[in-house]
Each structure stands twice: as C-alpha cells, then as structure tokens.
Point group: C2
Chain length 448, copies 2
C-alpha cells in the first residue's frame, strides 16, 4: 500500500538548513544559561495525567494531548449510553504529553529533592505539545527553553533573570526588545482599591487581552461580569499609570512592603545602577499573565519590530510545588519561545552572517579502487576537524560537481591515476574556481 507522506497538523519537519539555525539559537541560549550557574535537566515527554490536569485552567486541560493505554485498554470498561469522550478519557489514557516545562519541573523538584542542592537552578530545553489551533508562530509541537530557580524568594533572582534575558537577546542581535514587568501583588492591591476583590480573576483575564481588544472592550467585559462603573474609573487611573513613581502615588495609602511596590522599586533601582546591554525594562500595569500559579513579579518580553506576541515570559510562583507535597519552595522562572525567536530572526535577516560553517572538502569518485585510496586521506582531514567525504558513486564528474555545489563544499579534491602516481592531489577552490596540484600535507596545512 502506498501512503501519501504527511505529518500531523501543527507539527513540522526540520531540514538541515533550519536545524543549523535552530542550533545556533540553542547554543547561544545554553551558554548564557550555563554562565549564570544554571544546570540542565530533562523530564519525560509523557507524564502521568494527574500530574498535568488542573494546572493550566479548563482551557489548558482541553489542549493536553493524551496517550492511549497499551494492550486491551477497554477490558474493564462498561461501554453504555453514559460513556462520553470526556468521562472515558482518564480511564483509557493515563498518560499525557508535556504541556509546558514548569509543571513537570515542579514535579521533578519534589520527586528528586534529596538529590538536589537548593536553591536549585536549572535550565530545560525540550519540546512541549498543545492541541491548539495552529497559526503563525503557534504550533502543536514547539520548543521551550526554561530557566528556573527554586528555594529562594530573594529579589536578586528577579534581577538575575532580567540580566540573563538581556544577555540572551543581545547575543542573538535582536533589536528593540522590551522586558515588561509587573507584580501580581500590585494587581491585588489595584483590585482591592477598586473594591472588586471577588472579580480578581475576571479583571486580570480581561486586562491580559488589552493589546488585542483595547481598553474599552476590557471595561465592557468586566462590567458584564458585574464590576461597577466606579470601579472601572479607578482602573482608568491605574491603566494610565506609566511608571513606578505614578504607581507609588496611587498606592500611597496601602502597605508598600505588601503591595509589590518595594519589590519593583528595588528591581528598577538595581537594574538602573548596573545597566542592561540592549533590552529596555518597562513597567506595565496591564501585564497580568493568564496562568494561575504566579504570585509575585511577572515578565513578558516582546520585540517592537514584529507583531508575533511575546517571545519570552515568566514570573514568580510561591505554591507550585505544594501540590506535589512540598510547601516551602518559592520559585522564579522565565521561558524563551524558541520557535517565535526563530521567526523573528528569520524575518529580520539575523541569521545571515552569524552561523559558522566548518571547512568542507569533497573527493571526486573515479572508481572503486581510486576511492579506497582516498579514504586514509579523508580520515586525516576529519581528524583535524574538516568535514570531508567522497562521493559514493563513480558517476559522471558533472553530476558529482553539482552535488558539491549544492552542498556548498569549500574544496573539491581529485585523486585519479595520475595523482596516485605523482603523490600530488588536485584541489579546486570552489569559491573562485582556482585549481592547483599540491601535496596532501601542504593542503592540510593550508586548511589549518
């Protein structure tokens, strides 16, 4: 049976050209994570389903890919009219694919706590899967690069992650990057001032969409939920607040150590003192971040040059490990959206000159016997770090040269009968077409 080759919606094949670019990003990001003292970990693609459900809100739960149990999974299941897709799922699928790296990380920390040194600083670079509707910059399989520190509530960690974010985007040459910052405690104080405590989630969820739907629609949405017009007027004041100083005035009658203001002030003062390399840090009261688990500072990173949503985001969470049995660990993390960063770099033409290419040499194949003569020379080149290969078939030279051109070899070497006799090899420089006869050792010396 012939099958038309295809892959699932929202997933991608990566050709070598794309892989080289992705690896360029990974390499940069990784070396920065490392220099800040973060160490790598990995968790399985599949988690037990109860590890994941209930952590991402109802919408999130629906988007989790579930893995069907093996064997006769229907054996002990009564199939009657009461069976629905929803109530049978957990019985026939006890595993699911990772939805993000944060929840598996919290599970990892509690499960492996005896082996870890706290505060524990880790980075994790793995795929996650979401059954979301695919669109530009949104895939069903995508790559996340997360750094987290758990076991400390020091604000130095916030400063460290801001510096690290600045280093990442500076190293990738992405211009006009803004790091938006807010604090969930500020949002709590704001909603309290609005006398709308019971609508906290509604207000925060609406506010998070302000860029997409505009402030008027945010207000309409929360008024529909029951928030009063007077409360909305107070919200006006907050949304117009453009700096920490503005915020200080609005929150002057509440306790600054509890409302997040002291935290933000310390962070801004410190960052101003030490400076950032290329990013700009901006206070943004409308930044809320949907996920339930954030409790302190929250971040979101965008580049002004491309409307593609956030390219990184994160925040402080105080209670995430508690669901797995450990209450004492405050954590802070940021996640870099590598697939979007890739799109930004591609659209801005930032890959062009950045990717190092190793020197590469192709040997023309003049026949089995001659080819075997080439192999020891090829091994010599590989040993000094030069990519080298012989064309596998002794086909027409023109075809072999086309291959060399397509794969952008730097040099093509010809060792035929004559060359074997004289001990000289014939080398063609593909950048200029220049051809010369040299000894093998001189050729290696030249390449080094």
């Amino acid at each position: 049976m012939r099958i038309k080759p295809s892959i699932p919606k929202g997933t991608r094949d990566f050709t070598s050209e794309v892989m080289f670019r992705r690896e360029f990003i990974f390499k940069n990001v990784k070396s920065i994570f490392k220099s800040y003292g973060y160490s790598p970990i990995e968790t399985p693609a599949m988690e037990n389903i109860q590890t994941l459900t209930g952590k991402y809100g109802d919408e999130g739960d629906r988007l989790i890919f579930k893995v069907l149990n093996s064997g006769d999974y229907l054996k002990d299941i009564q199939l009657d009219e009461n069976v629905t897709s929803q109530n049978i799922s957990n019985k026939i699928a006890s595993k699911a694919l990772r939805y993000d790296l944060t929840v598996p990380f919290a599970r990892f920390v509690v499960q492996n706590q005896e082996k870890l040194t706290f505060p524990f600083k880790r980075y994790q670079m793995q795929n996650v899967w979401r059954a979301d509707r695919p669109q530009k910059g949104r895939f069903r399989e995508f790559f996340q690069c997360d750094v987290d520190i758990v076991g400390s509530n020091s604000l130095l960690s916030e400063i460290e992650l801001i510096q690290l974010t600045d280093d990442v985007f500076t190293s990738l040459n992405i211009p006009n990057v803004k790091i938006f910052i807010n604090n969930r405690k500020v949002l709590v104080a704001m909603v309290n001032k609005m006398l709308a405590k019971e609508y906290f989630n509604d207000i925060v969820i609406a506010l998070d969409k302000i860029d997409k739907i505009g402030f008027d629609n945010v207000k309409k949405e929360i008024i529909a939920k029951g928030v009063t017009k007077q409360s909305c007027e107070i919200l006006d004041d907050f949304v117009n607040c453009k700096s920490i100083a503005d915020l200080e005035i609005l929150l002057s009658d509440t306790d600054s150590s509890k409302n997040g203001l002291d935290d933000l002030k310390f962070i801004f003062d410190s960052i101003n003192k030490i400076g950032l390399k290329s990013c700009e840090i901006v206070f943004n009261i409308t930044l809320a971040r949907g996920l339930d688990y954030y409790t302190g500072c929250i971040f979101e990173v965008i580049t002004k040059d491309l409307k593609i949503g956030s390219i990184a985001g994160g925040g402080r969470y105080d209670n995430l490990t508690s669901v797995f049995g450990n209450n004492k660990l405050s954590g802070l993390g940021i996640s870099f959206g590598i697939d979007r960063i890739y799109l930004v770099m591609e659209e801005l033409g930032l890959f062009n000159d950045q990717i190092d290419k190793d020197t590469s040499v192709m040997f023309i194949n003049f026949g089995k016997e001659e080819a075997v003569e080439c192999l020891p020379i090829i091994q010599k080149l590989r040993k000094v770090g030069i990519i080298s290969e012989i064309y596998p078939d002794s086909t027409k030279i023109k075809k072999q040269m086309t291959y060399a051109n397509n794969k952008s070899f730097d040099y093509v070497v010809m060792i035929g009968e004559d060359e074997i006799k004289t001990g000289l090899i014939s080398v063609k420089d593909m950048s200029n077409g220049f051809q010369e006869n040299v000894t093998i050792n001189d050729f290696i010396k030249k390449l080094n």
Copy 2:
C-alpha cells in the same frame, strides 16, 4: 489535592549530573557525524498513524504509543458490543509517537525530496517511544542517534559507516568493540542451499536468537515449523563458517555477485587496507536482524565487556521509501543506542576524567546592597566564559559555603564592606582552601 510525584513506567528524569554525561556522548557523536558530511534533521514526535503501522511487524505495531484525538473523539462512533480495543484504536487515535527514526526518515525523504540533495546524508538524534516491558537497558522513552545515506547503492557507504562506527567508539574510549557484519543476500543463498526457501522468515527469526537460546533450540524451533533435518545439516555447515573464506567454499556453486559474497569481500579487503582505530570487524553468519526492511549488508555492534545486547545496529534497505511513493532510493543506516552506550560507559567508569568542567565562581551574599555591588563584577566574569553567580539570599555564611561545596565551585569570592572600600576582593580557592585578597582584574587574569 496533593499528588504523589511520579512518572510513567519505563521513563526517566535526568538530573544535571546525568545530563552532563549524556551531553558528552552527544557532543562526541555529533562532531563525528558532521565530519563525515552528515547533516542534522528532525521530525515530529507524533506521526500520522498510517505512517507507522505495518512497518515493524505485528509485535512492533502493538508497541506503538497512540495519541488520543482531541475534542469529542467519540462523536461519530457507534459504541456497541462489536467494539474492541483493537478495532476502535485507529478511529479514536489518528496519531502515534515515533517508534524509531528510520521510518519517519523515509517519510521525510519522500515528502521533502524537492528540497534535498541526493545522495542525502543525514543524522538524527531524537527520542523514540515503545510500549515494551522495561528492563535493564530497555526503556519506554529512549534516545536514538541515526546516520543514514539514501540515494546510492555504493559499497563505499558501508565502508564509511564502519569507519564512522569505529570513530564513535574510539572517541568514547569504549574498549573491545566488535562490529558484526553479515549480508541478507548471504542468508537468502544459505536458505536456498538448504532447499528451505519457503521458511526464510522462520529461519532468520530463529537464527537471530542464537545467542539467547543456543543453536540446538534454534534448530528445534525451525524443525517445528517444518524445516527438514537434512536442511538443518546444511545450516550446521553455515553456522560453523567463521570467515569469508569459509563462506566462499560453501557458496562456490552460486553466483558470487548475487549472493552477497562480492560485497563482503570488497568491504573486508578495503577495511583491512585502511585499518580501524579500535574496533574489530567480524563476519557473523548468524546475524540476521529482525526488521523486515533490510536487503543487503547488516551490522550489529557489541562490546565484549558488558552483556547488554547491541549498542548499535543497522543495514542496507532498498525498498523503504517505496511505501511513501519513491521506488528509486537505496538506503543504508546505522543507529546508535545512546542509553545503552551510557550504561556501558558508567559501568566501565569511562566518564570520570573525560568531562570538561568550566571554571566556576560563587559570590557570598552579605546583604542586598553589597550583592548589587557584586553584579557588575559577576557580569565581567561571565563575559569571559566563567560560570558565576551570587548566592541569592544573605543567609549564614556556613550555609552559603555548603551550597558552594555541593555545587563544586572552584572559587568563592567575598565582597563585604571592607572589600568595597579597598577595591580588593577576597578569593578562596576551593581546591586547597587558600584565601587571598586581589584586585578584580588580577583575579580575571588568573582565571584566564
């Protein structure tokens, strides 16, 4: 609700210590793949189910992890007494997790053929998933590193992959590695001589288990299937055949260009001429490899020092891309079992001195203000490639030093009030406990 943290059977968390060792293997393997002119590709974790089923035999099909469709997947399905786990699976799960890298690769090659240069040489390093019973060296999520070349049937490719395999195990310092080689065409010729053509699959499947069950049981198994005792006597001669020369005598009355003998002779002659670095290449008539798709030379790699099964294996397949619509591509590949290679290296103590560690420095935290003073110095160190961090909390020095010890920092730096005044920093060398006051620039110079 509290959840006891756990992960699915047969899967693993990787701590940083394990990750550093795995990355050491990946880095070595990758640089060798590259030096031979292979380029990276990646395919999605999920494939459409029809891409995978029917490629790995019945047993393989049962071990494929299937992914439940999203949304109301039971909507159009009649749930009656005819429903079984087996006949409903493909209706409720149209995607599945990658079972190996070869079939997705064949699908990739046909789907992306316009973008590729042939012969196409790729490497692929990704996880695969199998619902197999877990045991030592066998996991449900494990990592494969594959190299394949498609679009050529030249025997130079076989030689290239033998050299590459030799380079991989030499670079990892794994001793006593044997590369077993056989040819499916030899097996065909053998079965023809046995006059047992119709039992080819039975004979090959039984022979593949000779190490586990012994030759007597192999014979019992095939006799039970219907192979005659006379045929088994001929099999005796073949199994006793220890070299290509022995084989040549046994197959002298058949066409050596068709029975695989010429292929093996050319490969052995060439390898003998150019030599291997540390591996030994051994002809093994009992090597059959279960997978249906091999048609020519087959390989399996073991280390004599550890009974753990094969650590690499592969072969030539002539028809794998045809199922996806392209008949013309002969391919050859080898897959390295990274998880088993890891176990071998661990048991033989091969990681100990091989893993480079970057220099690392921890700064003691004497309080918020002092800490912020340290940050620019820390950035200077990171810039020159030194891992550096400040302990996030200004807690007891003893606790901070324990952290520094546990994370094996090379130096601990103290910058308190005095140090800020004098401009000298206090540095403790953790390897010998020696402590001195130096300028920042002298410290950086020393580390470089």
